[in-house]
């Protein structure tokens, strides 16, 4: 469904991605792991067009989408839930959903309120007044009413209480069950191992490991080498 091939991206003059290549198949959850600064967020931004890759291709549903404007890539069915969620604080919960809602979407706003009852209760609250967990649910709900074929999640559990994290894991599972592919960037190894069908590890803008769920469970050496905090 999504193929990223030898992607090179820059912020100004700094070369961030050095030929990143990865794939996500239909209905699959794929995790992208790596330390801070490895290029995970930049990879997501390069896929959705916020950062224009200087070299390489992004193929979605058989068509090259690199170089398209951000709103057109979103229109093809890729929804990014950014780090820090991007909730519009001055808009109500309902308005946050309404501006994203697309005609013919599988997820109507009413369906969302059934799926996330808490958002229904808070529909008239301003985005800024929601708790962190509610904001994350709203961010995902807003991506869903956009009718995506694929969801990119950037650090969805960041700053959330453990009980909310478990709720979120259940939500991501149901999204997968609905046939939506997920590319997950996440610091929590536990969350990734619970959810993902396959894993990639990024370091210094390069993919240094890829493996299936089973392979990754036994890849202690790689997990140690690329993911644990280095002592100085």
């Amino acid at each position: 469904m999504l193929t990223v091939d030898s992607l090179h991206s820059f912020y100004g003059k700094s070369h961030i991605l050095h030929g990143v290549a990865l794939e996500v198949a239909k209905g699959e959850i794929v995790s992208l792991l790596g330390r801070n600064g490895a290029g995970k967020t930049t990879t997501l931004k390069s896929i959705v067009g916020i950062v224009s890759p200087r070299e390489g291709r992004v193929i979605f549903d058989g068509q090259a989408i690199d170089g398209l404007p951000v709103h057109e890539i979103a229109g093809r069915g890729i929804a990014l839930v950014p780090e820090h969620r991007g909730i519009f604080g001055t808009l109500s919960v309902e308005e946050n959903l309404a501006i994203a809602c697309r005609k013919g979407s599988l997820w109507s706003i009413d369906a969302i309120y059934e799926f996330f009852p808490r958002l229904g209760e808070r529909r008239h609250s301003r985005g800024a007044n929601l708790s962190g967990g509610e904001q994350q649910m709203l961010a995902i709900a807003r991506a869903l009413v956009n009718n995506p074929k694929m969801l990119l999640l950037d650090e969805p559990t960041e700053g959330l209480a453990p009980v909310i994290v478990d709720e979120l894991i259940a939500v991501i599972r149901s999204i997968k069950a609905a046939g939506i592919a997920v590319l997950l960037v996440e610091q929590s190894l536990r969350v990734c191992m619970e959810l993902a069908d396959r894993h990639y590890i990024l370091e210094y803008g390069r993919i240094v490991y890829s493996g299936s769920r089973e392979q990754f469970q036994h890849a202690e050496a790689e997990r140690d080498r690329y993911l644990t905090l280095r002592s100085a």
Partner: protein, 285 residues
């Protein structure tokens, strides 16, 4: 006492004109981060559109409908094919280009209509005064206050109760996030710019029967609109409304105390607001 009451009413009417000019400036800056020094030229074009249409047809109401629509379409075309190229450059260049554009429009007005102002009569029904006991007030100014109040309400509904309004408010927070939801932000920019031009044109038409149309009214209006935006709070609709009324009333009331200083007093008011509330009366930090 009566005199001050009349000046407060005058200030209210003028303040609503200022509001109509400033609201476009403030929402354009709020969402597009674009400094438009040509905004006063839209006001000028509105006043001359009123003159031209009323002169040709004798019908003010036709001018009230067609004038702002023509200015709005002009603004839309200007944004689409010209000013949209300036979004990526620093503010200094935006100011230079739009200031140049304002001068071009102003000098075109001189070429077409001459350097002397043109008087415009109020529509027939609103000529003369209305008497309330021992208090007389021009009918046209009453109409102005009522009509602009309805407009402000309609505009508020547009911004607070429609999808376009929600997108606009969302864009003021983050245009990137709006794009990520699949919304073409550049189309929103064009519509917003056209709306701002329409409202400034409308202000020009409405002001014409009070102050006529003259080629140099653009820069004055622009400066006052910036004062209104600073007083009310950058990017805030309610701020433009409150700021417009405050500036209008300060200017009007002061003109009966100290007519030479009336214009200075609006800057004093602005300085006070900046000292006490740096983000404006209704601005967000």
């Amino acid at each position: 006492m009566n005199l001050y009451l009349i000046q407060v009413f005058n200030g209210l009417g003028i303040g609503m004109i200022y509001f109509l000019i400033a609201v476009g400036l403030t929402i354009i800056f709020g969402i597009m981060n674009f400094v438009n020094f040509a905004h006063g030229a839209f006001y000028l074009l509105g006043a001359y559109a009123c003159y031209a249409i009323a002169d040709l047809t004798g019908n003010f109401w036709l001018a009230l409908v067609l004038g702002p629509v023509a200015v709005g379409i002009g603004g839309w075309l200007g944004e689409r094919y010209f000013l949209s190229r300036l979004y990526r450059v620093p503010h200094m260049y935006q100011i230079l280009v739009t200031l140049g554009l304002a001068l071009v429009i102003q000098e075109m007005a001189v070429l077409i209509w001459g350097p002397i102002g043109k008087p415009i009569a109020p529509p027939e029904v609103f000529r003369g005064v209305m008497i309330f006991g021992n208090f007389a007030y021009p009918k046209y100014r009453l109409f102005l206050i009522g009509f602009t109040a309805i407009l402000a309400l309609a505009l508020w509904l547009l911004l607070e109760r429609t999808r376009y309004g929600a997108v606009l408010r969302a864009g003021t927070e983050s245009t990137e996030m709006v794009s990520l939801l699949g919304i073409n932000i550049f189309r929103v920019y064009s519509m917003t710019f056209a709306l701002g031009a329409f409202l400034a044109g409308l202000a020009g038409v409405l002001a014409a029967p009070i102050r006529g149309a003259e080629p140099f009214m653009g820069p004055d209006a622009l400066v006052i609109a910036f004062v209104v935006v600073v007083v009310g709070g950058l990017g805030s609709f309610a701020g433009a409304l409150v700021g417009g009324i405050v500036v209008g009333i300060v200017q009007s009331v002061m003109s009966s105390f100290w007519s030479e200083g009336a214009n200075i007093m609006i800057y004093v008011a602005m300085a006070l607001v900046i000292l006490l509330r740096p983000h404006g009366l209704l601005g967000r930090a």
